[in-house]
Assembly symmetry: C2
Homo-oligomer: 308 residues x 2
């Protein structure tokens, strides 16, 4: 049995995957505690939850993989700049492994989710997983392996500027895709208190609020640009949309599709790339991020075995 | 000895490469004849020029590789939509092979040039070769192999829009990088008769012509955006600039560098990617495109040998 955890800023989603069948046998969620001790405690407690649900010992788990919203080194040991978790830098793998007594490997949450989406959607060749959440970034998988690039920045489409007169982005540029699409940026620009700011914006847009309509149009334009961008640079076979915003389902995909069609209507070249046909939406509450984390953990033990 | 040809819209550049040393032993140039018969004749005559220079028989060449400005199938046999060569569709490889009696393989000119730049610059890991010519496109090489993507569209950064209010692009969109950077687009927008329109624009900009300054600024902004884009999506280790516009040397790189610095000054995130440090300029009149074509031809024979 292999364990995978997706540690989000507010909640942690975890699965135990059967080695033989590759199926999810049990899944648990618990709120995330932030800060170094809080995050370690959250991971440890969640793994114990899974063991309890299964009635097995934690030590019986072959591996534990953890997806975290931050920069992770390519050896899968350390996380840095995990702002939403209140972590500046933490040796997550070694600390958690010493407590649980199992091999542990960590990965950036979007990259882990990309591996999970690729496996769960049974894809082959190349795929980009575009995460639409508080932030916006993509994870690129080619022939089953993550493509990290020179410095792990591959897929950072959120900070590509598509409009020099666009809204200011927290990264310092103007008109970044994340400034138009990111849940955090939308909430800031909307400025109205709401549990789900983007949903609040979409509701207000449906009610005809002009500023909400403008924000929704910008969001759709930004998502369409990100998808087009991933095709024009990496020419991936499939672009899978995931992340919190996808809970909006058709309310998100219909305007995005319209924005894509607008581009292809204008351009025979874009039409020839058949971008809309490459697009998929991850099902609501998909276990892909946690499942991908379990795959990351499995890679850790394979590595441990092959490299002694 | 292996032969490589870069067939451009006006001239064809060719090299013969020594198998053992990998060095260019002879290089010739001749004007390109357009149309199906003209292109075949140009390739055949140029290969004979090389044989003549070397005092050897054409049949003694191990392979002939040809880079062409058009869509080439991934088996390296056929070219389509080679507008600048007056070719709608041509079985170049088989036709030329039947005349020369040597194995022939064709490749898109930018992709062939990318392979050549990667080899000549002695690069490793990942590189994007950004061609700045009449059109704008990149060729991506990872661990020595071309990355074509799902439909050979990988690296088509020329048609990423970076400004919804930007100039109209021949592809039908607005604000495409090619509309800001491409020699064809610049010439059209400049509208003044000149042998080298972009150089004419730069001269006029130096003389203070406001429209020329605007065009030059847009060009620099577009090149900087393309370089940034290749790092933010593919995170390539190196971006090599090549193509006709690079003949402007510092007159091109200084404003491009300024545009890149502008972005990094605003964004700590961009600064952390160290984009300017990944940038290289191909030397003037580099044999990279023809050399890359020779590598394409070599791949053809390797394939012929391994697959019978």
């Amino acid at each position: 049995m292999r364990v995978g955890l997706d540690v989000g800023g507010t909640k942690t989603d975890a699965v135990a995957v059967d080695d033989a069948t590759g199926e999810v046998v049990v899944r648990v969620r618990r709120p995330t505690r932030v800060g170094p001790e809080g995050v370690v405690r959250t991971i440890v407690d969640t793994v114990h939850d899974l063991a309890g649900e299964l009635g097995v010992a934690v030590a019986s788990f072959a591996s534990v993989g953890v997806g975290l919203p931050g920069q992770v080194d390519d050896r899968g040991e350390r996380v840095a700049h995990a702002v939403n978790l209140g972590l500046e830098r933490l040796e997550v793998a070694s600390v958690v492994a010493s407590v649980l007594g199992t091999p542990v490997r960590v990965e950036n949450d979007v990259k882990a989710a990309a591996l999970g989406a690729y496996a769960i959607e049974r894809l082959d060749r190349s795929m980009a997983y575009l995460n639409l959440g508080t932030g916006v970034a993509a994870g690129i998988v080619v022939d089953g392996d993550l493509w990290r690039g020179a410095r792990g920045a591959a897929g950072e489409v959120g900070h590509v500027s598509i409009d020099p007169r666009g809204p200011a982005c927290r990264c310092g540029q103007r008109g970044c895709i994340e400034a138009l699409v990111g849940g955090g940026a939308i909430a800031e620009r909307w400025g109205r208190a709401a549990v789900l700011p983007v949903r609040d914006v979409f509701d207000a847009a449906d009610a005809g609020d002009p500023r909400a309509v403008e924000l929704r149009d910008g969001l759709a334009r930004g998502v369409a640009a990100a998808v087009r961008l991933l095709v024009l640079t990496c020419d991936v076979d499939t672009v899978v949309l995931g992340g919190g915003l996808t809970a909006l389902r058709e309310r998100l995909t219909v305007p995005v599709q319209a924005a894509l069609d607008e581009g292809t209507a204008a351009s025979g070249f874009l039409r020839s790339l058949d971008v809309p046909a490459r697009l998929r939406l991850l099902p609501p509450a998909s276990p892909a991020p946690a499942f991908g984390a379990a795959l990351v953990g499995a890679a850790a033990t394979r590595k441990a075995m092959t490299h002694g």
